[in-house]
Point group: C2
Chain length 352, copies 2
C-alpha cells in the first residue's frame, strides 16, 4: 500500500507523518515518494540516496524549485499522528511534512504548470550540515537544482519569509596563569579575565538593517562558556563560545571580520560560519509569488537551507503551512486549514 | 627483607619511596611499617586499615603526635627513586616520605623521649576528604590521637608553618530564559548575567588578618564556570564555582555567612567547607617546639590535616623536610641534608 496522493492535504500529511523518518532513516519514506511520483506521466523522477527529485519538462520559459526535507527530529512519544480540534498532531507535522504534502499534491495535480517545476525532497536537514541532502545535491548535481527561483516549504505560519540571516560561531579565549587557589595572587584567574569578554557582549549594539525591503535583526551572544581545572586551582584558560547571527547584507567573510574587530586583542577562533541569503523579493518571479501568497513578507532570522540556493545564485524564500514555534516540540501540530490554504494558493499560482 | 630503620635518613627515605603506595594501595607499605615498629620493644603498635599507630608509654606528663600520610599521588614515570647532586628524586620524596622517614627514625631511636609520643602513619591523604585515614581515626578512635600538641610532617621546607586556612566551595548560579539564538532578544542570556558574578570577584578585596601572630592571606576566586545548551540556544543557566580560602579566625559557618553576604541576591549553594586551624603557637609546648626548630614560623595558607587535630582540640603545626612547590610534580625531589637536619632537630627536641 503506497502513498495515496489523492487523500487531500490532511490525509496525505497524516500518511507522511506516520512513516517515521528520523534523520538518516528516511529510506522507506523516500521510496514511497519516489514510487508515487514515478506513477505521474508528466514527471521525470530521479533518486540520490534518500533524496528524490521530480521535474516537469513542459518547455516553459522559467523554472521554479519547490523543496522540502523529509526527515524529522527524534520522535518524542508523539507518533502515530492524531487529529484533534482541526489540527494534526505528531512528530514532523509542522516541520515539515505538511509542506511535503503540499509539494506532493502540486506535483501530482498540476500537470500543466505556467512554469516548469522541480520538486526536491531531501534528507538529513535536522542534523549536522555536512550530512544535509540538499547540500549534497548542490555539490554533486547542481544542474538538477537549476531554476529562476526556489521556495522552501519550511514552517512559516503561511507568511512568505525572505532570505535568511547567516550564522557564525567563534571561540574567544581568555588566558591566565595557574596557581594553587590558597595562593591565588601567585597566578592570574582566566575566568575573572573572561568577564571582559562578557562585558563586550553585554554592551554590544546589534544592527537591525533593512535588506531588499525586509527588516533583519542581528545578534551577538555567548552560547557557551567553560573554564576551570580543579576545585583548588586558579584556572589558566576560559573559553567563551559566541554566536553571531548576521543579516544577509554581510558575507560570511565580512561577518568573521566584524567579530574579529569586536574582539580585537583577544585570542579568537572562528569555528564555523554559514552565509545568509538575501531575500531577492525585488526579482519579478519572487515578487509575483509573494503577491499571490498574500500577506506582508518578513525577514527570516534563523538560518535555513535557502542559503544553499543563494549560494547557487538562485533567489529563495521560505513559505509553508507549519508553525515555527511548534517545531521540535512534543506537542508539535499543524492546522489542517493551513495546509489546504497553502496548497490552494500555490496551486493557483502555478496554474496561473 | 623488611624496612631497615637504621639505614639513615636518605637510605630510609629511598626505601619508602621505592615501595609504591598510591592512595588506596598502601597495604604493602603499611605492613612494612607495622612490622618494623612492632620490633621496637618501647612501642605499642596498632593497625587500622592502612593506617599504623605506634605509641610510647613512658608515663611522661605530656604527649605529642607526629603524623604523616604514607600515600602518594599517581606515579609519573618517576619511580624507582634516584639520587643526584645531594637530592633524592622520585614520587613522594617531598610529599611526604622524607617526613615519614623522620617519623620512623625517631620512633626507632628515641626510646626515652621527654614526653610521650604517638606516631601516626595514615592512608589516603591525596584523595577525597571522606577517604582520609586521619579523618577515619579521628572519628572512630579519637583516644588514639589524644595529645597536647601535634606535628604534621608535610613538606614545609624546614620552616614551622602554623595552623592552616579553611576552604569553602560554593556554586553561584545566574539564571536567564532560553531562546533561539537567531532571536536572542526573546530570551535573557544567563552567561551574560554571570558577568555580574565575575565583577563581584574582580572587585573583591581579600583580608590579610594576623592570627596568633601569623599573617594569613585570604582569597575568593572562581575555580570553574560552565554554561551553554547548544550552539544555537541562548542559555538559561550559568554556574560559577567559587573557592573561598579563609583565615582561621573565621569558623566554617562564618565563612559561609560571608560568602552568602558577598553574593547576596544570587542563587548560591555551598557545596563543601572545611574549617581551618589556628596556629596555637602561644601554647608553651608549641612555642618550645618552634624555638627548637629555629627560623621564623609562618602561616600555612593551604588547607592541611592540621585542621583535623584542631577539630579535636589539639593545636597542630606543619613541619617537614620536603619542598611544597615540588609536591605532585614529575621532578619531585628532596635534599638529603634537609631530611637529616629535620631528624636531628626533632631528635634533639624529643630527647631534651
Amino acid at each position: 500500500m503506497g502513498l495515496d496522493l489523492s487523500a487531500g492535504p490532511a490525509g496525505l500529511t497524516a500518511q507522511l507523518v506516520d512513516i517515521e523518518s528520523v534523520s538518516g532513516d528516511e529510506a522507506r519514506l523516500a521510496g514511497e515518494i519516489e514510487a508515487a511520483l514515478a506513477a505521474c506521466p508528466h514527471l521525470t523522477v530521479a533518486r540520490d540516496g534518500n533524496a528524490v527529485i521530480a521535474r516537469t519538462s513542459a518547455g516553459r520559459p522559467g523554472r521554479v524549485v519547490l523543496a522540502g526535507h523529509i526527515d524529522t527530529v527524534p520522535v518524542a512519544g508523539n507518533l502515530p499522528s492524531s487529529t484533534d480540534g482541526g489540527a494534526l498532531y505528531g512528530c514532523g507535522t509542522s516541520d515539515m511534512k505538511s509542506g511535503v504534502a503540499v509539494q506532493l499534491i502540486l506535483a501530482a495535480e498540476v500537470t500543466e504548470p505556467v512554469m516548469d517545476v522541480t520538486y526536491v525532497f531531501y534528507d538529513c536537514e535536522e542534523v549536522e550540515s555536512e550530512r544535509n541532502g540538499l547540500g549534497r545535491l548542490a555539490s554533486k548535481a547542481p544542474d538538477l537544482l537549476a531554476a529562476d527561483f526556489a521556495i522552501l516549504l519550511e514552517p512559516t505560519d503561511g507568511v512568505v519569509e525572505g532570505g535568511c540571516q547567516g550564522t557564525l560561531r567563534a571561540e574567544i579565549t581568555a588566558r591566565g596563569e595557574r596557581a594553587h587557589s590558597a595562593r591565588s595572587w601567585m597566578g592570574r584567574n582566566a575566568i575573572h579575565e573572561a568577564a571582559a569578554i562578557l562585558d563586550v557582549l553585554r554592551s554590544y549594539q546589534p544592527r537591525q538593517p533593512d535588506v531588499d525591503g525586509l527588516a533583519y535583526h542581528e545578534g551577538l551572544n555567548a552560547v557557551g562558556i567553560g573554564g576551570g581545572v580543579a576545585g583548588n586551582v586558579i584556572p589558566d584558560e576560559c573559553v567563551v563560545t559566541v554566536n553571531y547571527r548576521f543579516a544577509p547584507d554581510r558575507s560570511a567573510d565580512q561577518a568573521a571580520g566584524h567579530v574579529r574587530e569586536v574582539f580585537a586583542g583577544w585570542e579568537i577562533a572562528v569555528t564555523d560560519v554559514a552565509g545568509g541569503a538575501r531575500p531577492g523579493l525585488s526579482r519579478p518571479v519572487a515578487a509575483a509569488f509573494a503577491a499571490a501568497m498574500g500577506g506582508t513578507p518578513r525577514a527570516k532570522l534563523g538560518w535555513t537551507d535557502v542559503a544553499r540556493f543563494d549560494a547557487l545564485g538562485i533567489p529563495a524564500v521560505n513559505y509553508g503551512p507549519g508553525v515555527p514555534a511548534l517545531a521540535h516540540t512534543r506537542g508539535e501540530h499543524v492546522r489542517l486549514a493551513a495546509i489546504t490554504d497553502c496548497a490552494d494558493r500555490m496551486r493557483g499560482w502555478l496554474t496561473g
